[in-house]
Structures are given as structure tokens and as C-alpha cells.
């Protein structure tokens, strides 16, 4: 018994020494280490290596965050709240900028660094990196949803939601399993539903929050968006599992031959190449609009930010400009499938093959919309997805009223999150 306890203590001691040695080795060799925290991106290490080859006086180390967005945010936020100075560069989801900037956890881009970021970068992704008129992030990649459809069933893609619902209903009406008419989209109670709703609101010319992000307006456009969402969710063409569908469920609905239309991110194109029945028939078009004007699609993506607690801010800004350089964005676009934020990258001839839909992406990006910018975004998003779920149960006027009051509470940090 005693021997066992002793061994245990010795093992514990050894582990302690080992971890402190490990923790120490980062800064022990005298050089400067820039710690980059980013989600697991398959070929990102190669980009880091490229940058290390040309970096002067520092070394970038890539630390992988959890795969889930919530897990990434939680880990970074917890460490930032504690003033951890071991984090230098953070890869943030586009919706986190305001929160971290307002809390004083990330540094503003100024002077040279700012000019570099703004040079040649698409406007909407850049917009997601701004808060209160200042720039807090450098867009690394971006993303927009497109309308994907079965070219063999639908000769010309629908321009509006009502056209799409009508076309689908006609395909469904013949009762033939070979000509499905369903529309697959994201209606589960999560961020994907907020993305869908935000697109509809912006397309209808409405607003969820005011410009400053401090007041919940939920105006006529937002009510119109609720009507469209409800109409879709209760139509004949909605996938029965719509109210529980995330991106992959929508993708599978089309791959399994249940859906003729799909609203989703471009990653489904690469995935569909493995499905021989679908691949040759998979076509794309810009997202459907509400009344004929182009849709204003919600942008996703990642921005780099520099931690306010970083001991090496200058080197960190330098590292950011390398990690998101046009060359590295092209590499990531081709190898990891994330659309670039620098416009000129789209014109590169190497982009043509992996991104046949790049024209549609670029066109959509130029007329895209950002999600509400407020430090309380996490709360705003939770409130929206809770109230809109299930979408079939929306009662436009009443739902809008509920959104207005609960969003206002969330903005005033008075409310309870569901």
C-alpha cells in the first residue's frame, strides 16, 4: 500500500515537472514565439511553415482549437478573461469581433497594419471585422451560401422564394419518386437558422438591430422575412425534418435524391463529387430573392485578431499579414476549400478547377450582409434561434413582438439566456 502511494506521488511529481518543462520550452530558447490559435484546418501547418521561412526574428506556432465553434469561443474567451498573455493571434468567427473588441481583449488594427488589411479585401468580410468604426480583425476566409439545384429537373433556376416553392410543388405534384421537389435548408434551433433569417431580413431591406447594435428594432422588413420563413416552412416543398436540419442534413437530403433544391455553403460541391448520380446534375445559382432584387446573403468566415494581452503585438500583426496573404489564401482555398477574402485571388487561373462556382460566390459576396454587430451577439443569436424554432410555428406579428422585447433584454444584459 505504502509503496503504491509513493509511486503515485512520484509519478505525479514527474508529470508536474514535465508539464512545467513543456510550458517553459516555448520561450526558453530566447527567440520570440507567436502563438496562433485556430480551429483544426487540415493544411494550415503548411501555411505556418511558409510564413516561418520568411519571418524575421520570431516563430509562429499553431495551436489547434476544438472543432466546434462554441468550444473554440469558450476556450479563447475564458483565457482572455483571465488575461492570459500566451495567446497572440486568434482566429475568430466573424460574429465574435464585437464581443471581444468591446471587452477590450483584442487590439485595433492601425496605421500600416490597417492599410494592409484593407488593401484589396472584399467589403462585406471587412465589415465583419469592424466594430464602432474601428478595425479589429483581418479577414482570412469568407463564405456565402448559394442555391444548389438539380439541373436535370430544373431547367432554369428560380429567382425568388415563391418561384422556388412553386417549381418544387410542381415536381412533387406528379407523385413520382424520381422527380423530387423538396427544398433543403437549415431550420434547426442553432446558428444556421439565424443565418437563414438574417439573409431574409437583409434581402427584405429590414433590420434586426439598429446600426449601433444597442436597440432591437425588428422592423417591417424583419416581419416580412418572418412571413417568408413561415410560408416556406409550412409549404409542400419543405423537407419534413427541416426544423431539425443542419448543413449536413440538407446536404444528405439532396445526395439521397429527396431534394431538388438546396440552400447551402459551397463545401457541398466537393462532397457531391463522390455521389455519381448527383455530381453531373448539380448546378448552382445566386440565392433566391424575395421580390426580385438580388438577395443579401449572410457572410460567414474567419478573421484574425491580435490579443490585447500579447507580449509581442508588432510581430503578431506581421504574422497576421503573412498568414492571410493572397498567396496563402489561394493555398487554403484550393487545399482546404475556404473561399478567399482578397478579390484578386478569385481571378487566379488555378482557382477555376476547384471553384467552378467562383463567379457566383464573388457576385454574392459583393452584395452580402453581415450579421448584427453587437458584443451580445451570442445572446442575440440564441434568442433568435429559440424564438424562431420551429419555423412552422411562426406568427409574424407576435413573433416579431417577442423578438423585440427579448432581444432588447439580451442587449441590456438583463435577460436570461434560454
Amino acid at each position: 500500500m505504502r509503496g503504491k502511494g509513493h509511486r503515485l506521488a512520484a509519478a505525479g511529481g514527474a508529470a508536474l515537472i514535465a508539464t512545467s518543462a513543456l510550458a517553459g520550452c516555448g520561450s526558453g530558447d530566447g527567440g520570440i514565439t507567436i502563438n496562433v490559435y485556430k480551429y483544426p484546418q487540415e493544411n494550415f501547418q503548411q501555411i505556418v511553415d511558409n510564413c516561418n521561412d520568411r519571418a524575421a526574428g520570431y516563430e509562429i506556432v499553431y495551436h489547434k482549437l476544438p472543432r466546434e465553434a462554441d468550444g473554440q469561443r469558450e476556450q479563447m474567451v475564458r483565457r482572455l478573461a483571465a488575461g492570459d498573455d500566451d495567446m497572440d493571434v486568434l482566429a475568430l468567427d466573424v460574429t465574435w469581433t464585437a464581443e471581444l473588441a468591446k471587452a477590450g481583449w483584442i487590439k485595433e488594427f492601425t496605421g500600416q497594419a490597417k492599410a494592409q488589411v484593407e488593401d484589396g479585401t472584399l467589403e462585406t468580410p471587412l465589415e465583419t471585422a469592424r466594430y464602432a468604426g474601428r478595425l479589429y480583425g483581418a479577414p482570412d476566409n469568407t463564405n456565402v451560401q448559394l442555391l444548389w439545384y438539380r439541373g436535370d429537373l430544373v431547367p432554369t433556376p428560380p429567382k425568388t422564394w415563391s418561384e422556388m416553392i412553386e417549381m418544387g410543388a410542381r415536381l412533387e405534384a406528379d407523385g413520382d419518386d424520381k422527380t423530387p421537389g423538396l427544398v433543403a435548408a437549415q431550420g434547426k434551433q442553432y446558428e444556421g437558422l439565424v443565418v437563414l433569417y438574417n439573409t431574409l431580413v437583409n434581402t427584405a431591406g429590414g433590420q434586426i438591430l439598429d446600426e449601433s447594435g444597442t436597440k432591437a428594432v425588428v422592423d417591417d422588413g424583419a416581419v416580412k422575412a418572418l412571413e417568408v420563413l413561415k410560408q416556406f416552412a409550412t409549404s409542400k416543398v419543405v423537407d419534413p425534418s427541416f426544423s431539425n436540419a443542419a448543413e449536413d442534413d440538407a446536404r444528405l437530403a439532396m445526395e439521397n435524391g429527396k431534394a431538388a433544391f438546396q440552400l447551402n455553403w459551397p463545401y457541398i460541391y466537393a462532397a457531391a463529387q463522390a455521389v455519381p448520380d448527383l455530381a453531373p446534375n448539380l448546378k448552382w445559382a445566386p440565392y433566391p430573392s424575395i421580390d426580385g432584387d438580388p438577395a443579401e446573403v449572410t457572410v460567414g468566415g474567419i478573421n484574425y485578431a491580435v490579443s490585447a494581452f500579447s507580449r509581442h503585438p508588432d510581430e503578431s500583426f506581421d504574422a497576421v499579414s503573412c498568414l492571410r496573404s493572397a498567396e496563402n489564401q489561394k493555398f487554403a482555398a484550393i487545399n482546404d476549400g475556404v473561399p478567399p477574402t482578397i478579390e484578386s485571388v478569385y481571378d487566379d487561373p488555378e482557382m477555376a478547377e476547384p471553384y467552378p462556382m467562383k463567379e457566383a460566390i464573388l457576385e454574392t459576396l459583393k452584395n452580402a450582409s453581415a450579421r448584427p454587430r453587437t458584443p451580445a451577439y451570442q445572446n442575440v443569436s440564441t434568442v433568435i434561434s429559440t424564438i424562431l424554432s420551429p419555423p412552422g410555428g411562426i406568427d409574424p406579428e407576435r413573433t416579431a413582438e417577442r423578438l423585440r422585447s427579448e432581444l432588447q433584454d439580451a442587449l441590456d444584459s438583463k435577460g436570461v439566456l434560454p
Binding site: E74, K102, A376, Q378, S413, K414, L417, P418
Partner: protein, 312 residues
Amino acid sequence: MSHALDAEPRLSPKAKAALSEGKKAERRLGLLLCAPAILIMAAVAGWPILYSLWLSLQRYDLKFPDRTEFVGLDNYVTVLTNPYWWNAMWVTVLITVVSVAVELVLGMALALIMHRTLVGRGIVRTSTLIPYGIVTVVAAFSWRYAWTPGTGYLAETVAGGDPVLTEKIPAIMVVTLAEIWKTTPFMALLLMAGLALVPDDLLKAAAMDGASAWQRFTKVMVPVMKPAILVALLFRTLDAFRIFDNLFVLTAGSQGTSSVSMLTYNNLIKGLNLGIGSTMSVLIFIAVAVIAFVFVKLFGTAAPGGDGGGRR
């Protein structure tokens, strides 16, 4: 044995003073030796509790650091008048009551089986305990996949391909079921320890007097086991009230299936609202204390004499 018993009274009168002197020193030493542990306990358990009490009296949102201020009991008013909180409270109470009640019945049956088996006792006991040995998160994932249409055998056979985890009532039922499956063995284990307390002679005597099996169970076994049953109920109720991991994996609190712990996590860790989140943790702490108090009160009446004078 008898020698020791004899020696004791003869020795004590003479040595009493000396012994108590030594005992005093021993007690002092004992206290001194305990002191570091108690100090550490106070630091790691007492301080966080006091600190969260303090946080719960403030408007403190990490997202808006410049708006931090002392607000007294405002946070308690906010939480206690909020429908999400009460929904979570009822969900938690429902899960707790149903799962503990079912576990008590099933656990008792399992305990009797384990107690009475003649053949393969080891195998019976081991296989009964397997669910309890599996990590909750892992078990919850297997339940989730089992109830996912397309991949899950339960969703396809029992639910006819419906996504049960996406509707409130069915989801709560699945969570409760997973909870029961997971912890019935624990209940059975505690009850089996109680069964060992029931003397065989008493049961035989009752049988001689013509008591039926059911009468022997309700009139002899249950009264003798009462303390063990109460301990088992207390442990399980406290545990079930704080349910988090099963829910986190199975529904993550969507469709209004949050428990109070889940809601606290969402506000504190996801929402970064230290004020509201701490208020919720304090309220959970109070609820748990109330449950424990009620049970301990029950003990006070039931434990010492069993049926004796303690009944009120």
C-alpha cells in the same frame, strides 16, 4: 475478547486523570494536523461559494466590463421572474422525481435479485453494474445515436423514424430513460447494502407466523431497510437534480429541455454573464440544500429506533 473486556473497567479509574491529560494533548495535535486540510477546504470550497454570492449581487457581464455595478437583489428578481428559469426548474424537477421513483422500484427489484441469486452471483452482479461503469458522456452519445433517425436502431424500431430528440416531451422522456438506465445499478447497490441488514431469522419468524411474501417485504424488510433507502434516495435526488452531462449530449437544452444546470452553464460560460449565472448557481445551491435538509429531517425521525418514538 473477554480478557480485554475485563481489563478495561479495572484500569480506567486509576488512569483516568493521566489518560485525559494525554487525550487532551492528542486532541490538540489532532486538530493541528487537521488544520491545513480544513484551511485548504475553506480556500477551495468556501471562498468560491462566497465569491459567487458576491458576484450574484452585481451586474457583471464580461461583454460589457464598463457597466459593472452593485445591484443588490436585482439579479434574483430577473431570474425568478423569468419563464426560461421556471421552465428549466420544472423540467429538472420532473426528471428528478420520475427518474428517482422508477429507479427506486427497479433498483429494489435488482437488489433483491442480486441478493437472492444462488447461481452465477458474480456474473449477475457484474452485468447489473455495467451501465453504471460506463462514462456518462459516452453512454449519452450511444443513446443519442440510437435515437437519431437513419442511424439509430431505437429511432427506427420504437419511434418509427421520428426524430424524438427534437420535441420537448419525447426528448425529456428519452433523457429520463437514459438517466434511469445509467443509475439504477447505483440505487440497487445501495439498497443491497440495506438488504444485508435484514436478519434472516426475522424473515423466517415472520414466515412461521404466516406472513406472505409481500407482507414480509412491506412489514419486515422495508422498515428495517428504511435508513438505507433514505440514504439511497437522498444521493440520487441530489444527483438527479444537478443533471447536466446526459442533457448536454442528448439535446443540449434545445426545445426547452434545459435543466437548471444547463441554463446556468449557458448564461455563465456561453453568455459570459457572471451576475446572472452566479445568481443561478446560488439558487441551485439553495435548492440542493433544501432537498438535503428535508431528507436529513426525515432521517432524524426515522433513523434511530426505526419504528419507535421518533414518528411525528
